[in-house]
């Protein structure tokens, strides 16, 4: 693993970063990003965050660019976040919410993509229920593809905004103990976070019932346990993942009540963590299942900050993928 990259602050505000462009067409996942690319996105997000603090929250960087938000799964939070990010960069946005029934009945993803492509969008933000859908789209479309969540595979902008939030509080990612608790098997947020945090040198612990721990999890460079206390002990950051009601039908655990008793993040459990622990959740939350209300609303929770940071991080991703130009001479 390469040495974790420093924040802009650590390097000195005007020092040149190790890499200044994302030389790739798409953002399909964290797995293929280098630590330098991750640092670049986070550094750029810092500048983008400031745009949201101005009186006029708009810059012309993506003026004239068309960005399509193609969402096959319903989502208010992520879609809104992307839309705000796109509009703040002055891009023209187009929201397509595909009802799942139309997918079942008619057009394949490939045909939807080809039809879209004919209208030359510059970027497509895709959320889909099948793992690998973004890879398929990337092969078909020339547009830049941004993965807003594909099946159980990855949700890269979520992991990036999580990392951004942690970095804001802790000034680093390396060496932090991060515990991730919840439905590990089905979570795309988990996979993206594991990739990002291990690349950046964090000590990652994942925790959930044995039925929900993915096979060969140790190969991902994390420690796995079914004992919450072990995971939470001395943790700098605790991330809670959503438990879906349907998991009970798959016999993953007997009941939500039992899940909360064994794995739910309560005030009492938190005591084992560091005194300045951060509580995070990608949302939407199931209060009383994976997280107790008083923890969600408590002083350690940065859940709402995550949402705010989402816009800045997505602006950074959109900007960096849209491609820029260096003309140092045309001052």
């Amino acid at each position: 693993m390469t040495a974790p990259a420093q924040t802009q602050e650590q390097r000195g505000a005007d020092a040149a970063p190790a890499v200044t462009a994302l030389r790739r067409k798409d953002l399909l996942g964290i797995a293929e990003l280098t630590t330098d690319e991750i640092a670049l996105i986070l550094d750029t997000a810092e500048a983008m965050k400031e745009v949201g603090e101005r009186p006029i929250k708009k810059v012309p960087a993506l003026r004239g660019k068309t960005v399509v938000n193609l969402f096959f799964e319903p989502s208010t939070r992520t879609r809104t976040s992307f839309e705000i990010a796109e509009k703040r960069l002055s891009a023209d946005t187009l929201n397509i919410a595909v009802a799942s029934s139309s997918v079942v009945k008619g057009e394949t993803l490939a045909d939807t993509a080809l039809n879209l492509e004919a209208m030359h969008p510059d970027m497509i933000v895709l959320r889909h229920s099948s793992s690998g859908a973004c890879h398929l789209l990337s092969r078909i479309c020339r547009s830049a593809i941004i993965n807003a969540g594909d099946g159980m595979h990855e949700h890269p902008t979520q992991a990036l905004l999580d990392a951004f939030t942690i970095r804001e509080h802790k000034r680093r990612l390396a060496g932090l103990k991060v515990a991730i608790v919840g439905d590990l098997a089905h979570s795309r947020v988990l996979r993206s976070n594991i990739h990002l945090l291990t690349k950046m040198g964090s000590d990652v612990w994942v925790c959930g019932p044995p039925t929900l721990i993915p096979t060969d999890i140790a190969r991902f460079g994390v420690r796995a346990t079914s004992y919450v206390d072990e995971a939470v002990e001395g943790a700098d950051v605790i991330m809670l993942l959503r438990i879906q009601l349907e998991r009970m039908e798959g016999a993953y655990f007997p009941s939500l009540r039992e899940y909360f008793n064994v794995f739910g993040m309560t005030q009492a459990r938190l005591k084992r963590a560091k005194p300045d622990v951060m509580i995070m959740h990608p949302g939407p939350m199931n209060r009383g299942v994976e997280i107790a209300s008083e923890v969600a609303d408590g002083p350690y929770s940065v859940i709402l900050e995550q949402v705010a940071n989402g816009v800045a991080v997505r602006m950074a991703v959109l900007y960096l993928l849209a491609g820029g130009v260096a003309h140092e001479e045309s001052a």
Binding site: A31, T108, L109, A110, H128, S130, S131, G132, A133, H135, L136, D150, G151, M152, H153, E154, R188, R191, P214, T215, D216, I217, R219, F220, G250
Partner: protein, 437 residues
């Protein structure tokens, strides 16, 4: 019409021959085999050096898709692909539309095969009506119509009880029961092998135990009923373990392994193309230890046959999200190069063993003619060019479908010619000196 194949290396494990021998073909039969056979009246084919003459290969697991799914393949295109792949005969699976659970469908398939007049076709009938797993199909009728075995391939027989009854009944006719071994509840809606690759890609996985459970069930029922039980497309090391134990105990169980299961692993899901639907099949590509176990089983004799599970699918059907793509890849035209390159040239097995896997044992399991070129046997001949380099090109496959993960692969070993009933049905243009074939 008499022909002598002169001077070629003949590999015929049944008769124990491995060396330069002449083969005299008279009409559709082998007339004589020996050194320096007299030529009188026969046309002579000087077999170029380096080529190997084998009893015709038989692929005992092929989906010809006709009736009902002709957009993927037909009996005509499938048998053309077969002879191009070196196969003189194929056994075709009953999961057509409608299912081959009655004499009409069987007859239809055989009619189409006769029209195409290429590779021999041995239909395999369904175990249950519509393969629904509720009532037994009319097995005697299927036998009468020409089926050589029964299976509900595509999925396992629904219940142990039904499998037992099918085995008892089929045993009457000496038909083997072929099973797609799997526990449906463990499989769930999995699309890949449960392991690191599936976990990384966010794909639902099925463990090797899922297949092994089906193998163990079949072995126990074979012990109970005395009927020959054949494990289709074996892929997991746990299955091999169970199979070996069954054989040691003297149970009448056999198995086949497909070339993709002794060549590829679940890494093919990621590289060269992530989420490549041409790496999606059932049973899935598994981890290296399973692939290596299949190779070990091929080497030590535990594995009886190589069968391709040739499963053509139309491009549009595969050009979708991984979850939604149908399982399966074509295999008739890549089997021989893969077998030669990965089994023989690596030193794992020698040519006589390869002939057992591709000819002798399939014939024995299906109880059909072939597997040897002794006098009186049908003149079904596969001629190999074991040292010829090939580059797999999906676009030039004769199968109607091109769903293969081996496109672009460079392998050493190819089919030189395929002869069925004395008629030369395929000659590889890249091989010199076979004009007289």
């Amino acid at each position: 019409m008499k022909r002598v194949l002169k001077g070629g290396r003949l590999v015929d494990p049944v008769t124990g021959i491995d060396g330069v021998h002449d083969v005299l073909v008279d009409g559709d039969r082998i007339a004589a085999v020996g050194r320096d056979l007299p030529v009188d009246g026969a046309s002579v084919v000087e077999v170029p050096a380096g080529l190997v003459i084998c009893p015709g290969f038989i692929d005992m697991h092929v989906h010809l898709r006709e009736p009902g799914q002709e957009h993927k393949e037909t009996v005509a295109t499938g048998t053309a692909a077969a002879v191009a792949g070196g196969f003189t005969a194929v056994a075709c699976m009953p999961n057509t539309t409608p299912v081959n659970d009655n004499a009409n469908v069987t007859a239809y398939i055989l009619t189409k095969a006769a029209e195409a007049n290429l590779a021999r076709v041995y239909p395999i009938g369904a175990v249950s009506r519509g393969s629904k797993g509720e009532l037994l199909a009319d097995i005697a009728e299927l036998r009468q119509a020409g089926c050589v075995a029964i299976t509900d391939d595509g999925h396992p027989v629904a219940t142990a009880l039904l499998l037992r009854r099918a085995m008892e009944y089929a045993g009457m006719f000496g038909m083997p029961v072929i099973e797609h071994c799997e526990d449906p509840s463990l499989k769930g809606d999995a699309v890949a092998h449960e392991g690191y690759q599936a976990a990384a890609l966010g794909l639902r996985g099925m463990p090797g135990a899922c297949e092994a459970l089906g193998v163990e069930r079949g072995i126990l029922l074979s012990e109970l009923t005395g009927t020959h039980f054949h494990v289709a497309h074996m892929s997991a090391r746990a299955s091999l373990r169970a199979l070996r134990k069954g054989k040691e105990m003297g149970v009448r169980v056999t198995c086949e392994v497909a070339p993709h299961h002794f060549t590829l692993t679940d890494e093919a899901l990621v590289s060269p193309v992530p989420y490549d639907t041409n790496a999606k099949m059932n049973p899935p590509l598994r981890e290296a230890a399973d692939r290596d176990a299949m190779l070990a089983g091929i080497a030590d004799g535990s594995v009886d046959a190589i069968a391709t599970d040739h499963a053509p699918h139309h491009y549009d059907e595969k050009n979708v999200e991984f979850d939604r793509a149908p399982f399966g890849i074509v295999g008739l035209e890549t089997a021989v190069p893969l077998a030669l390159d990965r089994l023989v040239h690596t030193g794992l097995i020698r040519l006589p063993r390869l002939v057992e896997l591709l000819s002798v044992n399939p014939a024995r399991i299906l109880r059909v003619q072939g597997g040897t070129l002794s006098p009186g046997a049908p003149a079904d001949i596969t001629i190999l060019a074991p040292d010829l380099k090939v580059r797999i090109d999906a676009t030039s496959l004769r199968s109607r479908s091109k769903n293969t993960p081996f496109d672009g692969w460079e392998l050493r070993g190819a089919v030189a010619a395929t002869v069925v009933g004395g008629r030369t049905l395929f000659v590889n243009e890249a091989v010199d000196g076979l004009n007289g074939m």
